[in-house]
Amino acid sequence: MKVTDNQGSEKKTTSTIDLVSDLKLPNDVKTKIKQDVGDYLIESILTSVGHAESPIDGESWPALNKEYRKKKVEAGSSPIPNMELSGDMLDSLTYKNTRDGIELGFIGTKEAWKADGHLKFSGEENNTPQRRFLPAAGQEFTSKIQQGIERIIADNIAEASVIDNAKLERVSTKADLYTLLSNSFPGLTRAEIKSATLRSVSMSELLAEYDLLDLL
């Protein structure tokens, strides 16, 4: 996963995230990865932001100034930097699929410019502090969120794999098992293979049937 681009304007403020360009997978599996990760990121961003925490690695948010805090409270909102006054901006957070992954942010809405005021993707200055909740090119999400993305991608690779049961019968060592699984789960490390296998009910039950679980 890599954030390859970002943009900020009156109509569109987004991060472009590459999820699948280096994965040799059928298109339907790539589409599922994009949908799963897209939904996961929306949920994770809303949860972090709602608790006044940046979901971006290395970013911290300054507290609200006194005047704006007062304005928020008078408007019936919470006095913390949770990106929510009317709620319209966060209600507009969305994603769309691209060839290699997703474009995440604010698309075709006037909330895009408001978001850019916080994200500073356009380079325009509006005298409010930077509070990033979408990553710029080269940035990453927090490690907790990044690890979730990697797990989701690995899960989809595992679910799409087809293992020849006859080959499972010939497995007798850990090395045999990982050689077989590596061929079925392209691009995953041993640790990722183990995790994805154990997270898959169908895969774990298959290995249990052949008494191979303890070789993982």
Partner: protein
């Protein structure tokens, strides 16, 4: 009269032999309830694809200053969310939802979760299986990590 139930069930009965079913079911129940409340309190639905709860149509009418109008968090007295809990049935079935609540709280929960009142927006906080709904992807991710832990326990025991 039958009680209104806002719950979802997970069947743990058909897992690999030796799976620590009850302890893992309890861990899943605790985690789903905790993560659901964490999302609800910031106005996000724990049901996949539902994103944020709809804003109040007329904040002057409700919540009328009794609480902030944003985020919309299903919490006025706290009674309904206090009843969001889990229960393990026969050591193999996990039930999550509004449990051990009064009829009034159950009815309120159903109104929010199903959108049965045309004057009140649907604000789903327990997925409805009949509509093909599931929990948010981040909650499913956490459940799978717990399921994995149960299998690691089996592997570690067999390698002793």
């Amino acid at each position: 009269m039958a009680k209104t139930k806002v719950t979802v069930k997970f069947d743990f009965s058909k897992l690999v032999e030796g799976y620590p079913t009850r302890s893992i079911a309890a861990a899943v129940g605790q985690t789903v309830v905790k993560m659901s409340k964490e999302m609800i309190e910031v106005g996000a639905s724990p049901v996949r694809g539902r994103r944020r709860f709809d804003a109040y149509k007329n904040p002057k009418k409700y919540p009328a200053g009794k609480k902030p109008s944003r985020p919309v968090n299903l919490n006025l007295t706290g009674e309904m969310l206090d009843a969001l809990d889990y229960n393990i049935i026969d050591n193999k079935l996990l039930e999550i939802g509004i449990l051990n609540a009064t009829k009034e709280v159950n009815d309120r929960a159903k109104t929010h979760n199903t959108g049965s009142n045309p004057n009140i927006a649907r604000r789903a906080f327990v997925p409805m299986g009949s509509m093909g709904e599931t929990y948010a992807k981040r909650i499913i991710d956490a459940i799978l990590e717990i399921y994995k832990k149960g299998l690691i326990d089996i592997i570690n025991k067999s390698n002793k």
